[in-house]
Symmetry: C2
Amino acid sequence: MVRLKGFQKLTPIHEALQKFFDQLKIEKLKTVAVPVHQALNRVLAEDIIADEDLPRFDRSAMDGYAVRAEDTFEASQFKPKTLQITEGDEVGEKQAKQVWTGNPILEGANAVIMLENTKRINGKIEVWVPVTPGENVSKRGEDVSKGEVAVKAGTRLKPQHLGLMAALGITEAKVVDKPKIAILATGNELVEIGGKPRENQIFEVNRLILSALCQELGAEPFDLGIATDDVNEISEKLKVGLEKADAIIITGGTSVGASDLVPAAVNSVGKPGVIVHGIAMRPAMPTALAIADKKPIIILSGNPVAAMIGFEVFAKPLICKMLGLEQEFRLVVKAKITRRVSTALGRRNFVRVHVSQCGEEFFAQPVSTLGSGVISTMTKANGYVVVPENREGLEEGEFVTVHLFDSIEVVDEDV
Amino acid sequence: MVRLKGFQKLTPIHEALQKFFDQLKIEKLKTVAVPVHQALNRVLAEDIIADEDLPRFDRSAMDGYAVRAEDTFEASQFKPKTLQITEGDEVGEKQAKQVWTGNPILEGANAVIMLENTKRINGKIEVWVPVTPGENVSKRGEDVSKGEVAVKAGTRLKPQHLGLMAALGITEAKVVDKPKIAILATGNELVEIGGKPRENQIFEVNRLILSALCQELGAEPFDLGIATDDVNEISEKLKVGLEKADAIIITGGTSVGASDLVPAAVNSVGKPGVIVHGIAMRPAMPTALAIADKKPIIILSGNPVAAMIGFEVFAKPLICKMLGLEQEFRLVVKAKITRRVSTALGRRNFVRVHVSQCGEEFFAQPVSTLGSGVISTMTKANGYVVVPENREGLEEGEFVTVHLFDSIEVVDEDV
């Protein structure tokens, strides 16, 4: 008989995401050229196709002597083969040419014998161990062959990708432009950091957190400031966001109690407006997803922890899609949960945990939370565990997948 | 009877690190103040001590009514309690004041009853469910209490740390200055990216890779360019590095065969010079560690893959120590190795693998490598497994700890 005020119906996460992305036509961001040394963590816009073989020539993988393998057959410590050292550009029969790692293999040679398997005596070498044709030689094209895709479009460029591009002589990377994400906080109780809060006021922290989260993903935050709880003020700022940015994130004013100011403002600036409001998750239940002027708008809770979880679940996949990221960046670890946790049935629960490594084992200690407003739970935790809608919690000792947002503590170092 | 030319003795990794750090007195880098919105991923130099309680006042954790808990005892759906709504600044006996999440709890009230557990009728509410004192109230200091360390020195600042600092009204973070790492490549065969390699020449890629690795850790690379295989030229560049930077990384010229040019140059610029040369590891065996003018110098293989592994093993812990990082950033995952791998006994082997997640399971597929020069093995892999000195390989199906340097591929999404 208790009437559920608030959200009449909570939408499951997967359904919310599907509705949102079904109605949203994500426009391709423009491609920009940046020097490779500035391309770290950018997303590659076009396949890199090798225009030559890498290595460009057969080269030695060892320090030693380039030889004809046939001349070393049956060599042993007891019956070494003797080869003449040549200084020429070719290796003839029973000749050897000294090479260092990376040196080209000369005409005539087909293998490299390691320095330590030889002995040099008066312009000759004794060979103690036979080599087979191709041994210790990096073949031309072994790394990447001409015409092959060396790095795929949609790859987030790590140091190794930059290295591979550079090895191909590429100086400029064509990357996806950074999506611009406008961020607006709403609420009469909010004061800018550095300001003087009156009694009952609090510092506005969500724009800072969300900007940092955007930056980590390779998006560019655009600050819309703070709006008071006024539909017109919120709408005006949203219009600026729609004009200047590719997407908007708004925090605060989404709980039903605090009246539907933000959804109303969103609905006033463009069609179709709010698509989903109220998600079957905890925290971040009052999250809403909207589209206006073909641009995505994500309305997050004003509560910092709920805003972070809402960002992770909705804004992160959005930004990844905007970037054309082939694969979402996820860092996960399997860990043993150290105590029982109970969660709400029918909601997807995000349980914050602190993972530590002890020897070969990983343990996830649930961080006790009184409310999702407790931001220090996010600094005490380094990851979260997703408890699905059909479960009422986690059992002590259960193995769980932890999604990491900070590094793992090593209690006892393994090898 | 085969004589081991080359390194007379290979030093185990742990011994090499110990020798290096025992002789190296790492000087504290200076502290710099940066605005919090520019402090992402910087390392905090001083403990942040809360100078006030957070929250600064008792506040509502829900939308609902602030009440005296006692007035709700024994309320039920069948026998609701009735309270008078007040608009005043205090909550008296049998009164209720409407509050939204985050609102301060008024004088007199000690609990919040959720909106959905009440019914409003003509300036009064019916309460259907009792609340206990403190229920739905975020107590003052619940998040952080005055005098408590909110964020520890040595923490790498993630979005959540910035949020917590901002909630305390902090606008500027005192962070550790970025250690400046000079990077020099050596070798006659090297050409700048963008240049025109002659036959037998290759593009120099290590400075780009190592600079990016430094940047990822929060260090500032300083480019010393390329030196030819000439002791004087190398020494001159090293002197510039010692003057301008906090540490130097050099690549190339460390294999014994290619003569001891770089070690000789290092020994010429300062005492004690090279401390360890030749490590019992694979790849990256020809790595050397040195100190000159109290500054650390790490000499890495000219081979990009070996240089990356050498950086991971030696330069990363060095940079973390310089930063005063309380905890090294490590991302690891336990995965099942998909096939047998054999490795060299007596060396610590770094086996590159590609980790993918399939349902609840993680699999590590060894990336086949012909030589450590094959840079594409680092783009095909997303992590590595360490095989200790006393093992000859990994068994198929064995569970291993993978150190990740790129994101995990999800073959089949789990919840």
